[in-house]
């Protein structure tokens, strides 16, 4: 009897979990795709990102114009634009950046209180520098607009500080950027990640390892290798085997150590 009850309990719990996880095709597909996205973006795998782009597009067949899907599609396009930038393919940088901006716009048109979309919009707008530096006034205006909106909606969103940090990190000091300024933003991001809880499983939940990894990066730039190591360990703690750490931070760390 006891055993039966236990089995039943397991079954019920299992069922509840399954019904939560697989409540509908949409959520099912979303969770699968988001998981794959984490892997693909970690490895900066362009082919995988392109495949994933298709996955998300197909999800749109299940829920037309779903704002959350547009957020992920936009994020993929943003990542594809970054990888195009590495390949110095300016046409693709433009293509994917414009697409990302329009997808984030679509997202916020439908859900105007979704801070994460504004965070990404700020990043994508900043990307335009690479192919239309002549429109800098417009870029600054739109990027600042997205930034202000994100902050107003969710001042404790850790990815707000992460993206702001990235943009500051890559901006020359004379233009209001710099490593030291960026570091405080990454540290703030790290702090907010401690208490951050996504509203549900489909909500974005990335960036924790990047925040710590970027603090480490700032220390590397300032030649404080011991502090850097400490933060690398912290990043690996929140996300063991983080490819961001392995593929991006560590090489810099090793190089500087010598």
């Amino acid at each position: 009897m006891k055993k039966t009850l236990f089995t039943l309990l397991v079954l019920i719990i299992g069922f509840v979990q399954i019904s939560n996880l697989y409540a509908d095709d949409y959520t099912d597909a979303m969770l699968k795709a988001i998981k794959k996205m984490g892997e693909a973006s970690d490895k900066n795998d362009k082919a995988a990102l392109l495949k994933l782009r298709g996955d998300f597009e197909r999800i749109l067949q299940l829920k037309k114009n779903e704002w959350m899907v547009n957020y992920y599609l936009g994020s993929i396009d943003y990542m594809l634009s970054r990888s195009a930038a590495e390949e110095k393919n300016n046409d693709d940088v433009k293509k994917y950046t414009e697409s990302a901006i329009s997808l984030f716009d679509k997202c916020t048109d439908m859900k105007d209180d979704f801070a994460d979309a504004y965070v990404m919009k700020m990043a994508a707008q900043g990307n335009r520098w690479q192919y239309e530096p002549a429109k800098m006034n417009d870029i600054i205006a739109k990027s600042t607009e997205a930034k202000d909106k994100a902050y107003k909606l969710e001042p404790e969103n850790p990815r707000y500080y992460l993206i702001d940090g990235y943009m500051t990190f890559y901006t020359p000091e004379s233009f209001g950027g710099g490593v030291d300024k960026a570091q405080t933003m990454f540290e703030k991001s790290w702090e907010y990640f401690k208490t951050y809880k996504p509203k549900d499983e489909t909500y974005p939940n990335w960036g924790n390892d990047q925040a710590a990894g970027m603090v480490a990066m700032c220390y590397i730039k300032n030649d404080k290798m011991e502090d850097a190591k400490k933060w690398i360990d912290m990043a690996n703690e929140v996300k063991p085997e983080s490819n961001f750490i392995k593929g991006f931070v560590m090489p810099e760390y090793e190089k500087n150590k010598k």
């Binding site: 996955d55 800098m136 233009f175």
Partner: protein
């Protein structure tokens, strides 16, 4: 028991796999049948589908069967739907080719002789490039004079095209005609500036010939400006310069339905004059211009927009002038008010309507010796335009306008133009005339083939004062005959009614509209959306019915004629994001019998050779430098050969050589500037340092003579070597 469950379970899985699923495979290709990587296919309404690999190949399985719609998409291409019948267990192979949109034909609908700026890809100049052009002083009109088609010899902002006067160029802002968008405007056009802020513009289209039937009552060229329907955000910009200060603000409500902008500016010239060595005693008063302008915009629905633009500016100036008969200050002042109320709305999905009601009032006073006049020019216009998409291949544009013009002129005018002394004899003139003009046009934009467009159009205008009616047929074409290569052409009839001041000096207002026939043919090579642009264009214009003074009764008639022919060459290249440059060259041969000419003579702006070189280099992400060099044939003028003493008034009367038979020396000037972008109080800031006419070339804009006309003195332009420093802060 356990075994049984497993077995049942397994067999169920197998059954599903073997019995139900169908497989769909194939290849997705794009232009030239090249495989598309990352294209997507999906059974509509399901999640079943796949993304192509780098060979364009896709493959997926589905449990759906029967008739299904497959949707193929790619970020660069138009989507495509195809219905298939899926049978369980079978494999379907389906290869599809996606097509790019109509965009390609849209791109070439840029008519001959035009230069555009805006959001579309066919951009020849951006607002930032405008403010960066050295020597243009951030002035839109001066920037446009670096393009071929427009002659740059006068140093002010008025644009002259292919030999004709500045009043043959019409400036349109959101359907309204702008007749006086200038401060410090004078006949010599040496120091005028436009009051139009390039940052508020969403589109700039400058056409030096062969333009659309939309534009009436203009002979030579059109500068068509479109402002943003809504401000682009909320913020402000402050400018502190050595010669001017300005403050502007933009506001956009949270729901993006309401927007407002305001611009205030004023010149402060004393420090600028001191630094550049101007003699301040040559000015009384020191030139002063002020302006305030703004817009209010409201969006009642997603497809409609109401916008009001308002602008006020005034200026005054007194400059010492030593003429043959009078030595004193030439004083002038002006006040200009402009307003435009515009409503635009989509009607259904394929028709767009916009209408505008504009008003402008310009007052101009001048005094020098006995000369003392006040001129008022009032224009008011109502305009209605429709654009209707008849099909994917045909757009129809049609519209109508009514324009009212009332000019008055009063004051003292010397009886003899060569005697300006305070006690000289004068006419007391008080003249006022008004007219109306009704215009109607229709044109079709036809994409005859994928890479070929044709725009036939016609307009008709009626002038109420002269009771003269004209009909102007026009035709424009473009053919993208090879990748990156376009041929454009235009032919058409153009008319412009003379200004009221000419009608005032006729019998019974018997002046015909001046007429020009344009013939234009051009070739363009355009690589990567303007990254490398080469254009060459030839034109011929035939003029009839030009205003000419009858040498017997000194009244005007319409017997003038003339022609203009020439070649424009334009080369622009943005070699990298760091370096961009353009060179424009224009050859012009323009002869007219017009105004005071007694035979065919060089037109007022017959500049044989006109060369402009502009380069800009980004030294770093935050520092940009630029250089402009201009070289051109001197402008024609009518020389004075000597003087005859008139004992009645104790003054010399000048003897003129043939009309426009002299030429000023070759004009040349080099300008450089530096721009530094930095952060100030955590805000975006820009500093500009520029040196105009760095080589200190002495360019003439006129000659003056001694009292007896025996001695000729050069009047050098005020644009000597000049330093300017400005600081802008965005907040």
């Amino acid at each position: 028991m356990k075994t049984l469950i497993v077995t049942i379970f397994l067999s169920f899985v197998t059954l599903t796999a073997l019995g139900q699923d169908a497989k769909i495979t194939g290849k997705i290709t794009g232009e030239k049948n090249l495989p598309l990587n990352g294209a997507n296919v999906v059974i509509e309404g399901t999640i079943d589908g796949a993304t192509t690999d780098s060979t364009g190949y896709y493959e997926f399985e589905t449990s759906k069967n029967g008739s299904q719609s497959l949707l193929f998409t790619d970020i660069d291409y138009n989507e495509k739907r195809q219905t298939v019948v899926i049978e369980a267990g079978k494999t379907i192979e389906l290869n599809v080719q996606l097509k790019k949109g109509e965009v390609e034909t849209e791109e070439i609908i840029v008519t001959a002789s035009s230069f555009t700026s805006g959001q579309q890809s066919q951009v020849t100049i951006t607002p930032l490039e405008i403010v960066r052009i050295p020597g243009s002083d951030g002035d839109l009109f001066r920037a446009i004079t670096t393009f071929p088609g427009s002659n740059q010899v006068d140093e002010g902002s008025r644009i002259t095209v292919r030999g004709g006067d500045a009043n043959e160029v019409l400036t349109i802002l959101d359907q309204a005609s702008l007749y006086n968008p200038f401060i410090f405007d004078d006949d010599f056009n040496t120091s005028s500036y436009t009051t139009i802020n390039p940052w508020g513009l969403r589109g700039i289209n400058f056409s030096s010939g062969g333009f659309s039937a939309k534009f009436g009552n203009v002979l030579s060229a059109v500068l068509d400006l479109k402002s943003y329907e809504m401000p682009q955000g909320t913020g402000g910009f402050a400018w502190l310069g050595l010669a001017n200060v300005g403050l502007s603000g933009v506001f956009l409500s949270n729901n993006k339905k309401f927007g407002a902008t305001v611009d205030i500016g004023q010149t402060i010239l004393e420090p600028y004059f001191k630094l550049n060595g101007y003699l301040t005693e040559s000015y009384n008063p020191i030139p002063l211009a002020r302006g305030i302008g703004g817009t209010l915009a409201y969006k009642p629905s997603t497809s409609s927009n109401i916008k009001f633009i308002f602008d006020y500016s005034d200026d005054k100036i007194g400059v010492r002038n030593t003429g043959p008969s009078f030595d004193g200050f030439f004083n002038s002042g002006s006040k200009t008010v402009f307003g435009n109320l515009k409503y635009s709305a989509g009607i259904g999905s394929s028709t767009y309507m916009s209408m505008g009601l504009s008003y402008s009032n310009h007052k101009d006073d001048v005094s020098y010796g006995v000369l003392n006049t006040v001129t008022y020019q009032l224009y008011s216009k109502y305009r209605l335009d429709f654009t209707h998409k008849l099909s994917g291949k045909v757009d129809i544009n049609t519209g109508a306008e009514y324009e009212y013009n009332d000019d008055s002129f009063e004051g003292r005018v010397p009886q003899f133009s060569y005697n300006l002394r305070n006690d000289a004899p004068y006419f007391d003139i008080n003249s006022r005339n008004h007219t109306g003009r009704v215009g109607v046009y229709a044109e079709a934009q036809i994409k005859l083939f994928k890479r070929f467009f044709l725009i036939p159009g016609v307009r008709t205008d009626y002038h109420t004062l002269s009771k003269k009616n004209v009909v102007d047929p026009r035709l424009s074409m473009g053919w993208k005959f090879a990748k990156n290569q376009i041929v454009r052409g235009a032919v058409g009839l153009y008319h412009q009614y003379p200004r009221l001041e000419y009608y005032a000096q006729t019998n019974n207002f018997e002046l015909k509209p001046e007429q020009a026939t344009h013939y234009i043919l051009g070739y363009e090579y355009n690589l990567n959306e303007g990254l490398f642009l080469f254009r060459v264009e030839g034109y011929y214009k035939d003029y009839k019915n030009l205003v000419l003074r009858d040498q017997n009764n000194f009244l005007y008639n319409s017997t003038g004629k003339g022609f203009a022919r020439g070649v424009d060459v334009f080369l622009k290249s943005s070699v990298t994001n760091k370096y961009s440059t353009w060179i424009s060259y224009a050859y012009t041969d323009s002869k007219r019998m017009q105004y005071d000419a007694i035979k065919q003579s060089p037109a007022n702006y017959d500049i044989t050779h006109n060369l402009t070189f502009v380069a800009s280099y980004n030294i770093s992400d935050v520092i940009t430098t630029g250089l402009t060099y201009r070289l051109s044939t001197g402008k024609p003028f009518t020389p004075i050969t000597g003087g005859v003493f008139d004992s009645t008034y104790n003054v010399y009367e000048p003897m003129y050589a043939d009309y426009n038979s002299g030429r000023f020396p070759t004009y040349h000037r080099m300008d450089v500037n530096f721009q530094y972008i930095f952060s100030l109080f955590g805000r975006f800031a820009i500093a500009v340092f520029q040196i105009n006419n760095i080589l200190g070339n002495k360019n003439l804009y006129d000659y003056t003579y001694s009292t007896d006309y025996k001695e000729r003195k050069e009047i050098i332009t005020t644009n000597k070597r000049q330093f300017y420093l400005g600081l802008g802060l965005q907040f």
